[in-house]
Structure formats: structure tokens, C-alpha cells
């Protein structure tokens, strides 16, 4: 009985690992977290289901979906909402010192391709620098820019563009 339970846990973690392993550099980034998708927390601590430490899901749950910060058009400054989100991320990284993240910088489609690559890099670095300022070791935070190549919101309107001007922190496995 106990053994079977342990197997189930192993299987669960293997699934999680497999899911993470699929985030090879060439793959598209994971779908954006949706605020509504947070599963109801289990009332007791005795059933260890749910995401494992070291997984993207665990990170997103722990920071309450604040692994994404947003920017104004052509800007890369960290506003107060971004600062709060990055503080939550920094606390998580302080608690789990073995975890490393990549900050993915993105731009909306209303920019030229090459400029947006540079802009995404600038946004990712703004987020990284803020995390480092909060005590996260710089070697634990990588950056990558996708420019306008990987939108999450598909419309061509202000609302979609606002969602796409973002920096997403992703756990590295």
C-alpha cells in the first residue's frame, strides 16, 4: 500500500520532470499563467500532490502568478507593480537557492523586428537588475529576448499589446 503510494508520487514527479524537460531552448515558451488557473489548495499537508519544487508550476504558484511583469510602450522601467512582483520572485529565489531562472523579454508587434529584439533584451535586463538589487546572485538569472516573435495575446489592439510587453521569469531545469 505504502509502496504503491510512493510509486504514484514518483510517477507524478516524473511527469513534472518530463514537462520541464520539454522546455528545451528551441521549444516555444510555456503558455502564460492565467490568474484563474490557480488550483484550489489542498486543505491538509498530508497529501503531497501539487507542483514540485524546481518546477515552473511551483514557482508560479508560490509567486501567485507574479512571474510576469509588464511595460509601457517602448519603456523598460520597473514600476511599482513590477517592483512588488519582482520582490515576490526574489523572496522565492532566496528560499530556494538551488533554483535559477531565465528572464524572457518580449515586445508588442507594433515595433520593427530588430529594434524589438533589443528592446526585449533591455526589459529582461531591467528585471534581472532589479532582482540582483534585491540580493539574488546575478549568476542565477539569465536573460533572453524574443522581441515580438512570441506574443501571448493575439489581437492587434492596445489591450493585447499591453499583455505582450512583458518580462517572464522561467525556472531553468
Amino acid at each position: 500500500m505504502n509502496k504503491r503510494f510512493a510509486t504514484a508520487i514518483l510517477l507524478a514527479s516524473a511527469t513534472t520532470l518530463a514537462a520541464c524537460a520539454r522546455q528545451a531552448p528551441e521549444e516555444l515558451p510555456p503558455p502564460p499563467p492565467t490568474d484563474t488557473a490557480t488550483p484550489t489548495p489542498t486543505p491538509t499537508q498530508t497529501t503531497p500532490t501539487g507542483p514540485q519544487v524546481g518546477s515552473q508550476a511551483h514557482f508560479e504558484d508560490a509567486v501567485n502568478g507574479q512571474n510576469v511583469i509588464y511595460f509601457d510602450t517602448d519603456r523598460f522601467n520597473i514600476d511599482s507593480a513590477d517592483a512588488a512582483a519582482l520582490q515576490t520572485q526574489a523572496q522565492y529565489l532566496a528560499r530556494y537557492p538551488q533554483i535559477r531562472v531565465t528572464v524572457e523579454g518580449h515586445a508588442d508587434e507594433r515595433g520593427t523586428r530588430e529594434y524589438n529584439l533589443a528592446l526585449g533584451e533591455r526589459r529582461a535586463n531591467a528585471a534581472k537588475n532589479y532582482l540582483v538589487g534585491l540580493g539574488v546572485d546575478a549568476s542565477r538569472v539569465a536573460t533572453v529576448s524574443y522581441g515580438k516573435e512570441r506574443p501571448v495575446a493575439l489581437g492587434s489592439n492596445e489591450q493585447a499589446w499591453a499583455q505582450n510587453r512583458r518580462a517572464v521569469s522561467v525556472v531553468i531545469n
Binding site: 531552448p25 508587434e109 530588430e114 533591455r122 534581472k128 533572453v144 492587434s156
Partner: protein
């Protein structure tokens, strides 16, 4: 241990990655020789005078292009039906070329009688005058004993009953279309007084899939869309290709190791190498006109600047050093100056500097933003993406004056010049769907058309006249 494994994986990545996204190499075809037939004695400056920026409408200049004659029908690898049918096919390619730039009214071989081999140098004028043709193109296709093809091309003025120009080429059978493009080029050059451009190729990015999971592959094709080839497989995003001036290599950006990095891809061998050994992201690759220098942009701690490096390898030189984004760059034809884009003033604007980075000065002061500047191969104009609400293709003088907006799409970006500096290609993105296509426009802004590509397309880069 873990750290060690990570380091190994990191080192191995670029090597393994190269194998992952490149298709089979396919070396380019053989050389094209100009042969026997001399141009007529007439001065090239004579005849019609005309430029594409002229306001007059030349689209009614009718040119009859009957099938090219074959002395006898011979089997050729170029066409399953032999040289006679190939002669008609050559005329069709020329007809499509001259049709598509909006300057002429070509009448193709499918609507005309086929002249005899003897008539190629001795046209039956009455036949063509009766059809209302002002210009007449004749030509022949002959298979040599070594399997190569000889293609002759003659342009006649029907009213004057006179030969304007003639030329001949020896081509490997696989390159028969190049003879058709060369014939199109001498006709275009003779009638307009402009430089040729048809015998050239285009590199671009082929796009498929939904907007949030777009697959972007490196692809190349002839100037008319023929001989299309995909060079990468699509597992890694490829962007912003540029042909080397001799067409032997392509510069482009690939995410093949997970990060945006620039590669030099050798078309003959299918091998590629990094433009610069650096862990920093690199963007916006460009060749100098002589192919000896590569410009690239690199972000260090988030700040992007422009660098140059010898194409043969060696040390990079940093050309810009502002805290803003400095990116891209396009050399003047003499290689002495570079026009580039910078947001150092607060928004994207166009600047010029000397090739060594000195003398940086802003040239765009016409409202809106100035992005992706490209110096015309003639040196007289700079094309750019003008952002003023919508994104449009515009041109200006190198001093920033004489702004003219040529297109009116929702998002037109990334201009690239035809080898003769008279036509501009760009890509147009559709609102909402994100679908994109290649378009071209002449300098009047009136002759605009979409280029057919097998799938959606972006980032066109037009190479020079083929060597």
C-alpha cells in the same frame, strides 16, 4: 558535478545545434558566360529616355515577346520537351519579368506566332507592326554538344525597323532561367536607361503556423520567385538574413542554441559559424559592400550597440557607445559611411556615421520615427520604415531631406533595395492575423505588387546582380 554537466551541455550546444536546424546544402549553379553576339553599335544613351520616377505613364509601351526559336529540337535536362519548348518558356519568363514592374505592356509567346530561326536576326516587320507592337524581342536557344545551352537575345524597335541591343549567353541547363533574366535585364536597361536587376536573388524568412507559435525558416529564391529553397528546417526561429555580395554566404540570426545569435551560413557547404564568439545576444547582421566587413549589433547588460568585425574573423570594433539602443546599419555604396538606427534621442531615429564610428549625427527630423534604414545601391536615397501611427516604407535623401512615403499598409517594414536602386521590397503584416507577405514598390509609389511565395514571408533581403 551538476555545474560541470551544465558547462558541458552549454559548450556542446552550438555544435549539436548546427546539425539540428540546417537542411541539406545545395550548391549554387555554374557560371554564365557572355558569348559571341556583340551589342549593336548604337549608343546606350540614345533611344528612349526615361526614369521610373518620371510621372509619365509608360505602361502602354507594348513589347512583343514571341517564343525563342530553336535551330532544331534537342533534348535538354532543362526542359522535358526539349529546346523548342524551352524557347517558349524563356519568353514566358521574360514576359512575366517585364509585366511585373508596371512599366511595359508585354505580349507573351502564348499569344504570338513563333518566328523561324532565320527570322531571329531578320524580323518580318509587317507581322509585328500589324499587331501594334512597338518593341520586339527575338531570341534563340541552341544546345551545344557539351550539353550547355546558348541563348541569344535581340531587342528591335518595330517602327524604326532597327536593332537596339543584342547579347548571348552560355549557361548550364539548370541555369537556363538566368539567361531569361539576363535578356530581361538588357531589355529593361536599354529601354529605361536604368541599371539591370532581374538576374539576382532574394533571401527571406518563410513563416507558417499560428501567430503565437510561428515557425520561421531561412529561405532563398530568384528575383521572380523561382528556384525556391528552404535552408533551415524550422525547429529554431531564424530571422533577418543578408546575402553576401558574392552570394556565397548568408548572414542571419538563429535561436538554434536557445539565444539570438548571428551565424555566417556557407551556401555551398551548408556549414555555419558564429559571427562573433560571445555569450551576449547579437542581432541585425549586415555586410559591407565589398563583403570584407560584417556589421552586427550586440546587447551587453541590456544595452545594444553596433560593432564591426572582419568577415575573415578577428577582433570586433565597437562603433557606438550611447546608453540607448543603437542597432542595424547600412553602408553607403562606397563603404565610407553607415546609416543606422538609434533611440538615443528618446525614440527610434536615423543617424549617419563614418565607417569607423566617428561623426555620428541624426538625419531624420520629419516627425514620427525612423527605423531600419537601408542605403540605396546608387547612393542617392535611404529607404526606411517610417512609424507615424501606421508603419510605412519611405525614402529620403542621405541628408534627411526630400521625405517621400511610398506605401500605405497597416504595418509595412524592413525595406531592401533592388540591385539597381529603383525598386524596394519590404514585408507587410496583416492586422490581427499576424500573417505577412513580401511586397515591392517602385520609387513612384504607384507600382506596388505582392510577390508570390510558397508560404507567408518576411525580412526580404535582395542581393546584388549575380556575378
Amino acid at each position: 558535478m551538476k555545474k560541470f554537466v551544465f558547462a558541458l551541455a552549454f559548450l556542446a550546444a552550438p555544435l549539436a545545434a548546427q546539425a539540428q536546424d540546417l537542411g541539406q546544402p545545395a550548391p549554387e549553379g555554374g557560371e554564365v558566360q557572355t558569348t559571341g553576339t556583340e551589342a549593336s553599335g548604337e549608343d546606350a544613351e540614345g533611344g528612349l529616355t526615361f526614369t521610373v520616377t518620371d510621372e509619365s505613364d509608360w505602361a502602354d509601351l507594348s513589347i512583343a515577346i514571341p517564343g525563342f526559336a530553336a535551330d532544331r529540337n534537342v533534348e535538354t535536362p532543362a526542359n522535358s520537351l526539349g529546346t523548342a519548348e524551352l524557347g517558349r518558356e524563356v519568353a514566358r519568363v521574360i514576359t512575366a519579368n517585364l509585366q511585373n514592374n508596371g512599366l511595359f505592356q508585354p505580349i507573351g509567346p502564348d499569344r504570338l506566332p513563333l518566328p523561324s530561326f532565320a527570322e531571329i536576326t531578320d524580323p518580318t516587320w509587317g507581322n509585328w507592326r500589324g499587331r501594334g507592337a512597338e518593341m520586339l524581342v527575338h531570341g534563340y536557344v541552341r544546345a551545344r554538344s557539351d550539353g550547355r545551352l546558348v541563348v541569344g537575345c535581340y531587342l528591335y524597335d518595330v517602327a524604326l525597323q532597327d536593332e537596339l541591343v543584342r547579347e548571348g549567353w552560355v549557361v548550364p541547363p539548370a541555369d537556363w532561367r538566368r539567361a531569361a533574366h539576363k535578356c530581361s535585364d538588357i531589355i529593361y536597361a536599354r529601354l529605361t536607361g536604368e541599371s539591370p536587376f532581374f538576374d539576382s536573388r532574394i533571401a527571406y524568412i518563410a513563416e507558417t503556423g499560428p501567430k503565437d507559435r510561428r515557425v520561421k525558416r531561412l529561405a532563398i529564391m530568384d528575383s521572380d520567385g523561382a528556384n525556391h529553397r528552404f535552408l533551415t528546417l524550422g525547429s529554431a526561429t531564424a530571422l533577418t538574413p543578408r546575402y553576401s555580395p558574392d552570394y556565397s554566404q548568408l548572414l542571419y540570426l538563429s535561436y538554434v542554441d536557445g539565444n539570438p545569435r548571428l551565424y555566417v551560413y556557407d551556401i555551398g557547404t551548408g556549414q555555419q559559424t558564429l559571427v562573433t564568439q560571445s555569450s551576449n545576444p547579437t542581432f541585425a547582421p549586415r555586410w559591407s559592400p565589398d563583403g570584407r566587413t560584417i556589421l552586427y549589433s550586440m546587447a551587453v547588460a541590456g544595452n545594444t550597440d553596433i560593432y564591426s568585425v572582419p568577415a575573415s574573423g578577428g577582433r570586433s570594433t565597437r562603433l557606438t557607445d550611447t546608453p540607448g539602443i543603437d542597432i542595424g546599419g547600412s553602408y553607403s555604396p562606397d563603404g565610407r559611411q553607415i546609416v543606422f538606427e538609434s533611440d538615443r534621442s528618446g525614440s527610434q531615429q536615423c543617424y549617419i556615421m563614418n565607417a569607423d564610428g566617428t561623426g555620428q549625427r541624426r538625419i531624420s527630423f520629419h516627425g514620427g520615427r525612423c527605423a531600419t534604414p537601408e542605403w540605396s545601391p546608387r547612393g542617392d536615397q535611404i529607404a526606411f520604415t517610417r512609424i507615424a501611427g501606421d508603419f510605412n516604407i519611405a525614402v529620403m535623401s542621405p541628408n534627411g531631406r526630400n521625405l517621400r512615403v511610398l506605401t500605405s499598409g497597416w504595418q509595412d517594414e524592413g525595406p531592401t533595395w533592388a540591385p539597381n536602386g529603383r525598386i524596394i521590397q519590404f514585408f507587410r503584416t496583416e492586422r490581427n492575423t499576424g500573417r505577412s507577405a513580401l511586397w515591392q514598390v517602385d520609387l513612384t509609389g504607384r507600382n506596388e505588387r505582392r510577390l508570390p511565395t510558397p508560404v507567408d514571408a518576411s525580412d526580404p533581403a535582395w542581393g546584388p546582380i549575380l556575378p
